[in-house]
């Protein structure tokens, strides 16, 4: 019995240990940019974000002037009980008591630094990165030596508003249209019903790339390019097949008796739909809404094509991609910007995780 217990304990250890390892692996990337977005921009440029954890670093305690100590850099030098050539000192030599000696500078004017390893953390946190990324105007940055550098802000807050103005209608409009259609498919008879539904099913997996060239032509002809309307309609069109399919599955599974009694009471289809079906379908509407919201908010391709020409209507993803392209080394901006762009999706995700999972299980995967 004892060995059985032991085995169970070891098994549990293995399961939890492996899982923990995978969770850490999966979390580190996000943690890295989250931490970095709050670090001072000079720190980000020279040290990794993990330096916020306690670590040992070499710190200069005192300096030795080689000339005063009477050392000859061309021969073998002996300092504090350590001897070595110039090149060896340059690379750093450790002393018996754990210090390190390092020659800094050139042969003639250099000096020897005595360094000691100390525990330290790099906790120089700031909100400046966010200020610069969100701001639309110029942003003043004080360097450590006191000089002030003026850099243009990245106007993420403007992009954030644009993204919101694109995402909300692009989520609500297809749901509304799809819910009407799903209701008709589920509760009305009309010629062509089956054919139309087969079209919906067939279009589920059609890649949206197929539509981009012709739709762009239409938009050019209608002078619609670079407007919110263009992108709302595009997202509506691309999300509609899935929305209709999912909502049909849900609405058609609602019990018939509720509807029948409503019709006997003389209610019209429109009343039944708005008063009865919509409230009852909230779980399905919510799970599709989350998907469409995340999909539109995170979309880059559709925005690039239909809004690409208009910098004023740039979305968060486009703004970020532009910063990567123009200033791919400015990690203080990229990390803060990435986090701004993730804020809303993460809030939606954590707030409505239940619906999100339910939607996934119902097959919310877009073509």
């Amino acid at each position: 019995m004892n060995s059985g217990k032991r085995q169970k304990f070891l098994g549990g250890l293995f399961v939890n240990g492996t899982l923990l390892l995978l969770v850490i692996l999966w979390t580190i990337p996000t943690l890295g940019i989250f931490v970095s977005s709050f670090r001072n921009r000079n720190d980000i440029a020279v040290s990794g974000w993990w330096n916020i954890f306690p670590h040992r670093e070499w710190k200069v305690t005192r300096e030795i002037d080689p000339a005063a100590a009477g050392l000859n850099p061309d021969g073998i030098m002996e300092v504090e009980g350590v001897s070595g050539t110039f090149d060896e000192f340059r690379a750093g030599l450790s002393t018996p008591d754990g210090e390190r000696l390092r020659w800094v500078g050139n042969k003639r004017l250099g000096r020897i630094q005595v360094e000691e390893q100390v525990w330290t953390v790099s906790w120089n946190f700031t909100l400046d990165n966010y200020r610069q990324v969100l701001g639309g105007q110029n942003f003043e940055f004080t360097k450590p030596d006191g000089t002030v550098e003026v850099v243009p802000g990245d106007n993420m807050s403007g992009a954030f508003l644009n993204s919101l103005a694109v995402t909300v209608p692009s989520t609500v409009i297809p749901i509304l249209i799809a819910a009407f259609a799903a209701y008709a498919f589920a509760w009305m008879t009309f010629p062509g019903r089956r054919t139309m539904f087969i079209m919906v099913v067939a279009l589920l997996v059609v890649p949206l790339q197929i539509a981009l060239v012709p739709i762009l032509r239409d938009y050019r002809a209608l002078n619609l390019n670079g407007t919110f309307l263009a992108i709302w309609l595009a997202h509506t069109g691309f999300g509609l097949a899935l929305a209709t399919y999912l909502l049909y599955n849900y609405i058609s599974s609602l019990p018939r008796d509720i509807l029948e009694s409503a019709f006997i009471d003389g209610a019209s289809h429109f009343t039944v739909f708005t008063r009865l079906i919509l409230p009852l379908s909230v779980p399905a509407l919510a799970s599709f809404a989350i998907f469409q919201f995340l999909w539109v908010w995170n979309d880059y391709l559709v925005a690039l094509i239909f809004l690409g020409g208009n910098p004023e209507f740039e979305l968060v993803t486009q703004r970020m991609a532009a910063i990567i392209g123009a200033r791919g080394q400015d990690w203080h901006l990229l990390t803060a910007g990435a986090f701004v762009s993730m804020l809303l999706p993460l809030a939606v995700f954590f707030g409505l995780q239940r619906y999100f999972v339910r939607g996934l299980l119902a097959g919310s995967v877009k073509g």
């Binding site: 508003l161 008709a184 009305m188 008879t189 197929i210 539509a211 012709p214 990690w331 762009s341």
Partner: protein, 388 residues
């Protein structure tokens, strides 16, 4: 499933048939058209106004959402006022028409139009000519674009890379998703673990590209490395690399991009597998344990066979997904360093080079690649027979 509303069933006269057909078409196309026109007017107004951005955004939202809702209400009201037989003939089209018209405009008809465009040269079919004139014009190139799609060297590279994406991307996502689902099922930290693994699904590809660019960040040897991967590599005595841009190991540098999608998609696989695993009756697992099966035997001989359907559907989904992969590659490398995929080639040809014919041909190739899945979906739908 029978309708609640009875259409009457008596034969209609020919005129009535024609009128009702016209009415239906009008409703299906009319609602979206009027909605479009009303929204369009609002937009021209918004585009030319100088109001603060927040006001414009709010107006746009109210205008767009409210406009569509009000139109449904108005059209329903109009049809409700008609005499009864007409009402029941036309009302379904108020409900279903707009969805069908939009689907037709945005997805169904574009497949045909894209195919048509793919038969022409870079400017596409010229407007103002009739069908015969278009076919005999100089811009008609027949299947030449398709020949180019399969022979051009960058396209071949894209096909090769997409194959890597499909094979490695889907396999690793499924394998990791399965491992995590099985482990989480027996763990005390199940909820937290699943949330954290699942979290990347909420992150955009552009965001994920930044996150992973930061991990791959490269500084020349000797300088302090700030990227996690290069820090690890140099501390183990290796040479720092700009991983996705590392052409020497091409095509395997694509794996550094594929990792990103595995990171994003494993959570999706995990959620579906987790739900499927919970559906396996506990008695079966218990019985096989009593019979002396060890955990690995249970995993391979009981769990995997019982969730086979889920594994196949998750796999297919991720295959379709990786087939169309665009954002990650476009943001990370722009397709340079031997990392082009089909969708980046499509974008480059259709929009950067403005070669519509070539771009359209690539899009058709993507469509053909998903046809088996489309066929399978339709077959499933027929078999379920939920629809009469």
């Amino acid at each position: 499933m029978k309708s609640i509303n009875n259409t009457g069933g008596q034969k209609l006269s020919l005129t009535a048939e024609i009128v009702s057909l016209l009415g239906r078409i009008f409703l299906a196309a009319g609602i979206p058209l009027i909605a479009f026109y009303v929204l369009y007017l609002g937009f021209i107004f918004l585009r030319d106004s100088n109001a603060p951005r927040a006001v414009i955004a709010l107006t746009a939202i109210l205008w767009g959402v409210g406009g569509v809702a009000v139109l449904y209400w108005i059209f329903n009201d109009i049809v409700e006022r008609l005499p009864d037989p007409w009402k029941s003939r036309l009302l379904p089209f108020v409900f279903v028409g707009p969805a069908m018209a939009i689907l037709a405009w945005y997805l169904a008809i574009p497949t045909l139009r894209t195919f048509w465009i793919s038969l022409f040269d870079r400017n596409g079919p010229s407007e103002g000519l009739n069908l015969f004139q278009q076919l005999t014009s100089d811009s008609f190139v027949g299947l030449n674009n398709y020949v180019a799609v399969f022979t051009e060297s960058l396209m071949r590279e894209a096909f090769r890379n997409n194959l890597l994406w499909i094979i490695f991307g889907s396999t690793f996502s499924v394998v990791f998703g399965l491992i995590i689902a099985v482990l989480a099922d027996r763990s005390r930290i199940e909820k937290t673990a699943k949330s954290l693994i699942f979290l990347p699904m909420a992150i955009s590809f552009v965001g994920a590209s930044i996150i992973w660019n930061f991990i791959y960040e490269y500084r020349p040897a000797g300088q302090p490395q700030v990227g996690l991967l290069n820090t690890l590599v140099t501390s183990l005595g290796g040479q720092p690399q700009a991983w996705p841009q590392w052409v020497t190991i091409s095509p395997w540098n694509n794996l550094f991009l594929i990792v990103i999608v595995v990171w994003l998609q494993a959570g999706y696989a995990m959620v579906l597998f987790s739900a499927a695993l919970k559906g396996i009756p506990e008695e079966i697992l218990e019985a096989s344990r009593i019979d002396g099966a060890n955990e690995f035997q249970i995993f391979f001989q009981i769990m995997i066979p019982s969730i086979r359907g889920t594994i196949i559907s998750v796999w297919t989904t991720i295959v379709i997904f990786t087939l169309k992969i665009f954002d990650v590659v476009w943001v990370m490398t722009g397709g340079q360093f031997g990392t082009h995929v089909i969708a980046t080639q499509f974008y480059r040809q259709a929009f950067t080079n403005r070669n519509s014919g070539f771009g359209a041909a690539i899009a058709i190739v993507l469509l053909i690649a998903v046809i088996p899945v489309m066929y399978y979906n339709l077959k499933q739908f027929r078999e379920r027979e939920a629809f009469q």
